[in-house]
């Protein structure tokens, strides 16, 4: 492999990471909290498609199924748990954070009951594609193309539609949103549901390219968090930069320094961001 090939692989990996981070960013925007169960939604989506594939369902049909299921699960969690905590407690943000941590734990355990702890991947689209001097696996290319399509769809929803704009309005200024007659409770339901749906979709794309298991959920949450922390929490454009950066750094580190550093790279980046640019790479400091 040439060096350029490694960097290109990193950029493609960044495409996945961006999709993984989108849902987390969305939920952070409307709720003001980091959803620690995000990685669990990703894993359940991926393993759901894996099981459907085992039962003879085409992975792309499986993608549709787990996306819809993710939306439903997200809506139920928001309605049954998170909104209730918000309604009852004063320090609801800390409690909500802890609730999503507990939820992650539960979902990982349920996942291990259903799928065990083995890492699983779908042998699909395994052929290699040669572009000039570079070689990519077809599944990686298809996955990135899908991730880009979903990301663009999400961006169009957020910038063009009434519900998407309301969501951004709520994230940018809750008081202003109230003055416009926007009901935040309904928006939180929509936001959390869409966030979970996108996470499940990201899981499907992941399982095409790498083996996943329920216990990997936490590391996915961390990677997604590093991406949005690099971009500045809630900053949708910043997240794209963050995703590519994490993807490239991780791939290059793996190539140069080995698998241990590769796995540790997102955590190291998280520490560096928190130390030197806690407001994100793109944010200008507001006086």
């Amino acid at each position: 492999m040439t060096y350029l090939q490694v960097v290109l692989n990193g950029i493609l990996l960044g495409g996945f990471y961006l999709l993984m981070a989108q849902g987390l960013n969305l939920v952070f925007g409307v709720m003001g909290i980091v959803n620690l169960a995000h990685g669990a939604f990703i894993v359940l989506g991926g393993l759901g498609v894996w099981s459907l594939h085992g039962a003879g369902v085409n992975p792309f049909l499986g993608l549709l199924v787990v996306t819809v299921a993710g939306a439903a699960l997200g809506a139920v969690v928001q309605w049954a748990v998170i909104e209730r905590i918000r309604g009852t407690a004063k320090q609801h943000e800390l409690l909500t954070l802890m609730a999503t941590f507990g939820l992650s734990y539960i979902l990982i355990n349920v996942g291990q009951q259903v799928w065990g702890s083995d890492f699983r991947t779908i042998p699909y689209l395994q052929s290699a594609v040669t572009v000039g001097p570079f070689r990519f696996s077809l599944s990686l290319l298809v996955g990135v193309a899908l991730a880009a399509a979903i990301t663009l769809g999400l961006a169009a929803w957020l910038t063009r539609t009434r519900s998407g704009k309301s969501l951004r309005a709520q994230a940018q200024n809750p008081l202003g949103a109230g003055a416009c007659g926007i009901n935040p409770r309904r928006l939180r339901l929509v936001g959390f549901s869409v966030g979970a749906a996108v996470a499940a979709a990201a899981g499907m794309l992941l399982v095409l390219t790498q083996p996943i298991a329920p216990q990997a959920a936490t590391s996915f949450t961390i990677v997604a968090f590093v991406v949005i922390a690099l971009g500045g929490l809630g900053n949708y454009k910043g997240a794209a930069l963050g995703a590519v950066l994490v993807g490239v750094v991780q791939t290059v580190a793996g190539y140069q320094l080995g698998a241990v550093i590769q796995a540790a790279a997102p955590y190291l980046m998280l520490i560096l961001v928190m130390l030197f640019r806690p407001e994100g790479l793109l944010s200008r400091k507001v006086s």
């Binding site: 202003g176 003055a179 007659g181």
Partner: protein, 250 residues
């Protein structure tokens, strides 16, 4: 906003635009309003004057549902709305131009206006937009700009315009003149006068600049340490400048 349009939602026909009775409100343990009672008649324009920290903003927030009243009653066009959250108050016809403006900084002027009309049907929203751009032609020339990139005066116009987009029957204005150049203040107050002249809307104008407010309002209340200590027709209060100054200075 349009003369002769059907009455406000849920209107019983005769009720005042707003009746506030023995209202207590504050922030957590801090009590700010200690029993405010006031009535705003339909299509009336009233002022609320008072020194820093008197509770003017808190009074508007309690009426707009941003701050939940601790006790007392808020009745809008004969309908009791005490304790409703802000988004419900907006839908009930209260348009709030908050003191912090509270715009959506990353969204365009156009989208900020559109958000104001999110609960209004499309036909009416188009009418309202035309009206707002008529009142504030400057906004029409910067529809694509981000709200966060506007000057203070432009942001105030946008906050005003966004509140009008909610199609209010009662408009709450919180110190629109604060921190703005005289020419901008003049433009804002011209727009306000034009709106008032058209009728169809009641207005509560909060101002520290009593002279300015008393030129526009019919009646005014003076708030001091969370209580109304003086009220009367603007003309009378204006004549008794010493009295007003005494309270405002305190």
């Amino acid at each position: 906003m349009t003369p002769g349009r059907p009455g406000p939602r849920g209107d019983d026909g005769n009720a005042p635009a707003l009746e506030v009775t023995d209202l207590h409100a504050g922030y957590g343990a801090l009590r700010v309003l200690h029993g405010v009672t006031m009535t705003v008649r339909r299509n009336e324009v009233v002022g609320v004057l008072g020194a820093n920290g008197a509770g003017k903003t808190t009074l508007l927030r309690a009426i707009a549902g941003v701050v939940r009243p601790q006790s007392g009653a808020v009745v809008l066009h004969g309908r009791t709305v005490t304790g409703l959250p802000d988004h419900a108050m907006t839908r009930a016809g209260v348009g709030h131009v908050p003191s912090g403006r509270e715009l959506f900084p990353q969204m365009s002027v156009e989208d900020n206006l559109a958000m104001g009309a999110i609960a209004v049907d499309a036909v009416r929203a188009a009418e309202l937009r035309t009206r707002v751009l008529d009142l504030f032609p400057a906004l029409g020339r910067m529809l694509e700009r981000r709200a966060g990139a506007l000057s203070g005066g432009e942001q105030q116009m946008l906050a005003f315009g966004r509140a009008l987009m909610t199609d209010p029957t009662l408009l709450l204005l919180d110190e629109p003149s604060t921190g703005l150049a005289p020419a901008i203040v003049a433009a804002l107050f011209d727009a306000l006068r034009q709106l008032i002249a058209e009728g169809g809307m009641s207005v509560i104008l909060v101002e520290q600049n009593a002279g300015l407010a008393l030129q526009v309002v019919e009646r005014a209340f003076v708030l001091r340490q969370g209580r109304i200590v003086l009220s009367g027709p603007a003309a009378e209060l204006g004549d008794d400048a010493d009295l007003v100054a005494a309270y405002l200075g305190a």
